[in-house]
C-alpha cells in the first residue's frame, strides 16, 4: 500500500495498463508534457511515442482513430483534455463507439476507455468546468464511470481497460490532488457497476458521485454532529447503475437526497430521483430532494461558488426531508 492522490493513482493505473502491449494512450499533450494535469507523467519516456501518442488538436479524430485501433485489436485509452472538449467527438462516441457491437452483432467491438477530466470549482475558463455526464449516461452501449477516491480511481481505471465494452471514464478535476489515501499495490481492481456505501445511517440517505462526494461527505459529518445519522452512497459507476444498492438503502432509510454538480433539468440526478420514487415509493417519508447545479452555464471564477452546491445546501435538503 502506498499513499496516493487520485492523480498519482491514475498515473499508476495507466502505467500498469500499458504493460499490456495492446494498450495505447493517446490525446492532446498526453506525451511529452504528461498531460495538462500530469496524469500521464513519465509514461511517454517509459513506453515511447508509439504507445503514448501526442495527437493533433482534433477530438473527433482522436476518438475516431482510437475506435479503429480498438476494432483492430488494441485497447486504446483516449484522453480528452477537458470534458467540455468532448463535444466535437460526440458523434464518434454516440454513433460509432457505442454502437459497433450492436451493428455487427458482436463481430466487431470497440473496447476503449475515454478519459475526461470533469467538473468545476478551480476557477477555470469557460468550457473547462463541465459536468455533462447525462449526455453519456443516456447512450446505450457506453459504460460511464466516475471515481472519487484514489483507490477507486486506480481500481476502476484498470477495470475500464479490461472491460470488453467502451467506457467513458470521468475524472473530477477538483479531486485530483485534494485527497490522499492508501491504495492497494499492483493490479487492484474495482468492479464496474457497483456503488460504494461509504457510510451507513438510518435518518437520511445521501447519494452522490464525482466531486460532489466531497461536499456530501462533509455534510454527512456535520449532520452527525447535529445528531442526524446520514447514510452516504458514492455511485462510482453511473452506467450500469447499481440499482439494488440504491433502492435497498432508500427503502431502509425512507429519506433521500441526491447531490450532483450538473445543471438540474435532465441531469443524472433526475434518473436517481425517478428510480427511487418509482421503486421505493411506499417507503418514502419525504419527497426526494435534488441538490444540483443551476440550469445555467457554469460560471467563471468570480461566481462559481454561487453555482456549486455547498455543504450547507446538502444539509438544508437533508433537514427538509426530516421535517417533511
Amino acid at each position: 500500500m502506498v499513499m496516493h492522490t487520485v492523480a498519482t493513482a491514475l498515473n499508476e493505473a495507466l502505467a500498469l495498463a500499458l504493460e499490456d502491449e495492446r494498450v495505447v494512450l493517446m490525446g492532446e499533450d498526453v506525451g511529452k508534457t504528461g498531460g495538462v494535469f500530469r496524469i500521464s507523467d513519465g509514461l511517454y519516456e517509459r513506453f515511447g511515442p508509439e504507445r503514448v501518442i501526442d495527437t493533433p488538436v482534433a477530438e473527433s479524430g482522436i476518438v475516431g482513430a482510437a475506435f479503429g485501433m480498438a476494432v483492430a485489436g488494441l485497447k486504446p485509452i483516449v484522453e480528452i483534455q477537458f470534458m467540455g472538449f468532448s463535444y466535437p467527438a460526440y458523434d464518434q462516441i454516440i454513433s460509432h463507439v457505442s454502437r459497433i457491437r450492436n451493428r455487427s452483432r458482436h463481430r466487431f467491438t470497440a473496447p476503449m476507455v475515454i478519459r475526461m477530466p470533469c467538473g468545476g470549482g478551480f476557477g477555470a475558463a469557460e468550457h473547462h468546468s463541465e459536468s455533462t455526464e447525462a449526455i453519456y449516461t443516456h447512450v446505450p452501449g457506453l459504460k460511464v464511470v466516475i471515481p472519487s477516491t484514489p483507490s477507486d480511481a486506480k481500481g476502476l481505471l484498470l477495470s475500464a481497460v479490461d472491460d470488453p465494452d467502451p467506457v467513458v471514464f470521468l475524472e473530477p478535476i477538483r479531486l485530483y490532488r485534494s485527497i490522499k489515501e492508501e491504495v492497494p499495490d499492483g493490479r487492484h481492481s474495482v468492479p464496474i457497476g457497483s456503488a460504494r456505501v461509504e457510510r451507513d445511517g438510518g435518518d437520511v440517505l445521501l447519494v452522490s458521485w464525482g466531486a460532489m462526494t466531497k461536499e456530501t461527505r462533509a455534510a454527512a459529518e456535520r449532520l452527525s454532529e447535529q445528531g442526524v445519522d446520514a447514510a452516504f452512497i458514492d455511485l462510482r459507476t453511473l452506467v450500469p447503475l447499481d440499482v439494488t444498492t440504491i433502492i435497498d438503502a432508500a427503502q431502509a432509510v425512507g429519506r433521500v437526497v441526491v447531490i450532483s454538480e450538473a445543471p438540474r433539468t435532465g441531469g443524472f440526478a433526475a434518473e436517481i430521483s425517478a428510480l427511487v420514487a418509482e421503486r421505493a415509493l411506499y417507503s418514502l417519508q419525504a419527497p426526494v430532494e435534488r441538490v444540483t447545479g443551476l440550469d445555467t452555464v457554469f460560471p467563471l471564477k468570480r461566481a462559481e461558488s454561487e453555482y456549486l452546491p455547498a455543504v450547507d445546501d446538502v444539509m438544508a435538503a437533508a433537514m427538509r426531508t426530516l421535517e417533511a
Binding site: P56, A58, G68
Partner: protein
C-alpha cells in the same frame, strides 16, 4: 485524369493486368449490376428498406477493391456493396442488412470489412485507426475506405486525412465522386477544382482517375495499396464517376438535375467499355455474357432466399447487442413483454 480504357474500350496505356484478370473484373461488375437491379426490384416490392443504388459506379468499386489482399480492412458506405462483396462480404448479408436486420452487419470472422457506414464522414477515421492499429501490432494489413464527394465536406474527412498524413497510416482514401451529394452537385460542395488536389494539404499524393474505367481504377488503387503496404503512407484517389440512379429509392432526381445528364451517363456505361475491350481482345462472346448473367442472377436469387429465411429478430436479440454482458436491468427489459 488517369485513363487506360477509353469509353469506346480502346487501350491508351499498358493495362495493369492480364486478360484473364480483366475477365474476372468484368464478371464482378456484372454481379454488381445484378445485385443493384435485384435490390431496386425488391425495394419496389416492399421487401427491402430504402436502397441506395450503385448503378454506374461498378468500375470504381470493383477496380479499387480488386487491389486489396483478402485480409485487408475495408470501411465503406451505404452505396458500396460491390466493393464490400469483392472483399468477401456476401450478397446475402448485404441484402439482409437492406431488409432492415442487424445481422446483416456481421460478416464471418475472416472478413475484415466493417458493416456499411450510414453516417457520412465519420467512417474515414476508422480506416485510419485500423491501419494504425495493424501497424502497432506488427501487421502489414492496410485499410481502404470508400466515401463520396459529399463526404469530403465533413470535418471528419479533414481530421482523417490529417491524421493519416501525420501518422503515415497505411490508409487508401477512395473517393467516388459520383457528381452529387443527394441534390448537391459537386461544384456546389467545394470550390476546389478537384477533390484529388485536396491531398496536398495533408502531405499525401492525390490521384485523379476515370472512375468508369475499371483498369485505370485498378492501376491507381494497386499503386496506392503497394505504397501503403510498404510503409510510405496514405493516398487519396478521386474516382470520377456518376450516380446514374436516384440517391436512394426515396429520391427523385428530376427535381435537381437535367434528364440529358443522366442519359449521357447511362450511355457511358462502365461495363460496356470493358466488354468492348474484351471483345476486341477476343475474350468476350455473347454466350459467355449470357452465362455470367445467369450465374449472377442465380447467386442473387440464393442470397435473397438466405436473407429472407432467417428467423425473426427479437426483443431479446436487440437487448443482447448492447454490451458483451447485458446488465440485469437490460436483461429485464428484453424479457418483459411491454413495460
Amino acid at each position: 485524369m488517369r485513363q487506360i480504357l477509353t469509353p469506346a474500350g480502346e487501350l491508351l496505356d499498358d493495362p495493369p493486368c492480364d486478360i484473364e484478370t480483366t475477365r474476372r473484373l468484368y464478371w464482378a461488375m456484372i454481379e454488381a449490376r445484378t445485385y443493384d437491379r435485384k435490390c431496386t426490384a425488391l425495394q419496389k416490392q416492399g421487401r427491402l428498406a430504402t436502397y441506395a443504388p450503385l448503378l454506374g459506379q461498378e468500375a470504381a468499386q470493383v477496380g479499387s477493391a480488386a487491389a486489396l489482399r483478402p485480409d485487408d480492412w475495408m470501411v465503406a458506405s451505404y452505396r458500396d456493396a460491390a466493393a464490400m462483396w469483392m472483399q468477401g462480404y456476401g450478397w446475402d448479408l448485404l441484402i439482409l442488412g437492406r431488409t432492415g436486420d442487424e445481422r446483416g452487419g456481421s460478416p464471418p470472422s475472416r472478413i475484415n470489412v466493417l458493416p456499411p457506414s450510414i453516417t457520412v464522414g465519420a467512417h474515414m477515421l476508422h480506416a485510419v485507426g485500423l491501419a494504425w492499429g495493424e501497424r502497432l501490432q506488427g501487421s502489414d494489413r492496410i485499410a481502404m475506405t470508400y466515401f463520396g464527394d459529399g463526404a469530403t465536406s465533413e470535418g471528419d474527412f479533414h481530421e482523417a486525412m490529417n491524421f493519416a498524413g501525420v501518422f503515415k497510416t497505411a490508409t487508401v482514401f477512395l473517393c467516388q465522386n459520383n457528381g452529387y451529394a443527394i441534390s448537391m452537385p459537386r461544384r456546389a460542395q467545394t470550390a476546389s477544382e478537384t477533390i484529388a488536389e485536396k491531398a496536398e494539404s495533408y502531405g499525401m499524393p492525390g490521384v485523379l482517375v476515370d472512375g468508369n474505367d475499371v483498369l485505370a481504377v485498378f492501376a491507381a488503387a494497386a499503386e496506392a495499396v503497394a505504397r501503403a503496404r510498404s510503409g510510405d503512407g496514405p493516398t487519396l484517389i478521386e474516382a470520377v464517376t456518376y450516380r446514374v440512379g436516384p440517391h436512394t429509392t426515396n429520391d427523385d432526381p428530376t427535381r435537381y438535375r437535367p434528364a440529358e445528364e443522366e442519359s449521357a451517363a447511362r450511355a457511358a456505361d462502365p461495363l460496356e467499355r470493358v466488354r468492348a475491350y474484351l471483345e476486341a481482345s477476343g475474350a468476350w462472346d455473347a454466350e459467355w455474357q449470357q452465362r455470367l448473367e445467369e450465374k449472377s442472377a442465380e447467386a442473387l436469387e440464393r442470397a435473397v432466399e438466405t436473407a429472407e429465411a432467417l428467423e425473426p429478430f427479437t426483443r431479446r436479440d436487440i437487448v443482447a447487442g448492447v454490451f458483451q454482458q447485458p446488465s440485469d436491468a437490460l436483461i429485464e427489459q428484453g424479457e418483459r413483454h411491454g413495460w
